[in-house]
Symmetry: C2
């Protein structure tokens, strides 16, 4: 609307109608008495700047509280922004992962923006496309359920790291806890307590990609059962790893003549839904039935719940993922695959079966 005067006495008492009029690199350059190219060099820490010039430009930037326009940057160079895809933001696990991710990118001066996907492959794909539209410099995908081919396709466009879905990839990195091992930890623990009738809640999905967490954990459960000579007792209930999934699993179990003596719920959220129903029906935990979750979420630690679970080391997962992504942005192309060994956390919901 009106022209900008540098000798503006009072910092605008009026409403600034020129939507989004922030200082630009050209403003900085003008104020510092150099070319925009020079200002850009200072901004990027590029070669060819004298200490004197750097000083002046930085001063001008501070004085104008200059902030680089990410859109403009995205047109030619980098945006210094990382995109994170989270499907189930409810799940505290991802929040814990983020607490590992955030400081690494903050340290490297990358901004982080999160895209929340609805629980469907289409939504995941759409959100990833959106992040690419915004020219993010790299992507962290939290337990994507999309086909691996799609992940490869994205990875051919920009650096990608997948968290909590193992198996490695040709063009991207993966960071995950070993779900088969974690699942076996639970079975071993329950068998060690004397259980033989152990049910497992899995996810009802047509996708049988072996790297999907629920496939891996179910495989770990089945292998462990076989290893203990309990092949006949393998008992998988496929609903879903949500609170609702736990509720319907409980309903199915309660329809039977007898409950199993232990349930490996696959995820804490599912265990919570399951526990809610059991408690309501007066089923005693761990008296009548032992219950184990997976993820070691903060809620499960609460005294009245005290859920036995498996810790995936979420923050470590997040930190390693961020580090790998930075490496990839730095130019590495050989894929890497980090696998963390999960640990069992024994609490009050598991105990020996009633004699």
């Amino acid at each position: 609307m009106s022209e900008q005067t540098e000798t503006d006495p009072e910092p605008t008492a009026e409403v600034p109608s020129p939507l989004l009029r922030r200082a630009t690199l050209r403003d900085v350059a003008t104020r510092a008495g150099v070319s925009t190219a020079a200002a850009s060099k200072v901004l990027r820490g590029a070669y060819g700047v004298s200490p004197a010039m750097r000083e002046r430009v930085q001063e001008a930037m501070a004085a104008l509280s200059y902030r680089p326009n990410a859109s403009a940057r995205g047109m030619r160079g980098k945006t210094f922004t990382i995109g994170v895809l989270i499907s189930d933001i409810q799940n505290q696990f991802y929040d814990q992962v983020m607490s590992g991710v955030a400081p690494v990118f903050a340290e490297a001066e990358y901004a982080v923006l999160i895209a929340q996907a609805a629980p469907s492959v289409e939504s995941e794909l759409a959100m990833v496309e959106t992040m690419i539209d915004h020219r993010m410099d790299g992507l962290v995908l939290m337990t994507p359920t999309m086909p691996r081919a799609e992940i490869e396709r994205f990875a051919s466009l920009l650096p990608v790291v997948v968290v909590a879905r193992g198996g490695g990839g040709a063009g991207f990195d993966t960071v995950s806890a070993d779900d088969e091992v974690g699942s076996a930890l639970i079975v071993d623990h329950l068998v060690g307590l004397g259980h033989r009738s152990i049910a497992h809640i899995s996810v009802d999905s047509p996708d049988d990609d072996p790297t999907l967490p629920f496939r891996a954990r179910t495989r770990g459960y089945e292998d462990a059962m076989r290893r203990h000579g309990l092949e006949e007792r393998i008992d998988v209930i496929s609903t879903g790893w949500t609170q609702a999934g736990g509720v319907s699993a409980a309903a199915r179990l309660l329809e039977r003549d007898a409950l199993p003596t232990a349930i490996h719920a696959g995820a804490d959220v599912a265990a919570l839904g399951l526990l809610g129903v059991l408690w309501d029906r007066g089923v005693e935990v761990p008296g009548d039935v032992s219950v184990a979750g997976y993820d070691n979420s903060p809620i499960g630690m609460l005294a009245p719940i005290s859920l036995t679970s498996v810790d995936q080391g979420a923050d470590v997962l997040g930190r390693r993922a961020a580090e790998l992504l930075l490496e990839r942005i730095g130019g590495r192309t050989e894929p890497r695959s980090v696998r963390i060994r999960p640990t069992l956390v024994t609490r009050g919901t598991t105990a020996p079966p009633r004699a």
Copy 2:
């Protein structure tokens, strides 16, 4: 966490493509045999396109699976992207709000990206700046704790709607539940049960802006106490509305000679932390002390917790916020302020005091 193993799968067959080579509007135009200006018109649904041309261009877009470059768009026009600031992503309340926000923007063909702030004003400011750097078309701020002047400043740059922090604003809209009323609902409920000794957990913060939720809820508590002639019994413990805040509030209370007969925890998360300690110490709830939360989060509904709480209508809050933001983007400048009446949800953690 235990140590991890790192394996490197077979090296990449090849580096797939020149990073980020997607179809551009020019490609579309060439394929359709028109100018880029024409293609742009079709893309934006602007005036001056014949049905035939529209047809051909749309066909070309589909064939090339064209996606507009948000960075380029951001340089001149809009990015069709909304930014959401969430401070405490742990808190399920915001997830519920998002479930109201998302469909509205999806319908209007806006993408939504989330910035997660650490719990500090500096972090909030930095994340908002980041979103402006990316030339978002509008911002939804979830319970920002930054000074109102800062919000006004941002609102002078782009459309802003504030959720769950009331009071209205000069240059932005607000959508919130009435915290004073909600807080009074709890006090009335407890007094109705016969309680007279009712403590309240608030937030330890130097900021006394009356629109901050914790100020409003504490005000509501105090007013209600006065209204019931319990002015002398006003008892505010300022720690924080987090699980940890609940834990330290519990510690402070247990140091005393006698516990209050009821506690208005201010937030479900704080109530959970509080409950954990009480349960551990063998304090019976609601026998020895009644506890009420605020937010009506899914965890509190779980049978063994069964937390009395206040429902803010999170999804309605989210939907209205999104609608208001779209209006603002559409050109409205008069501020609007939506206030929702919260409702009490009575559950198992509140009961009459022991005679």
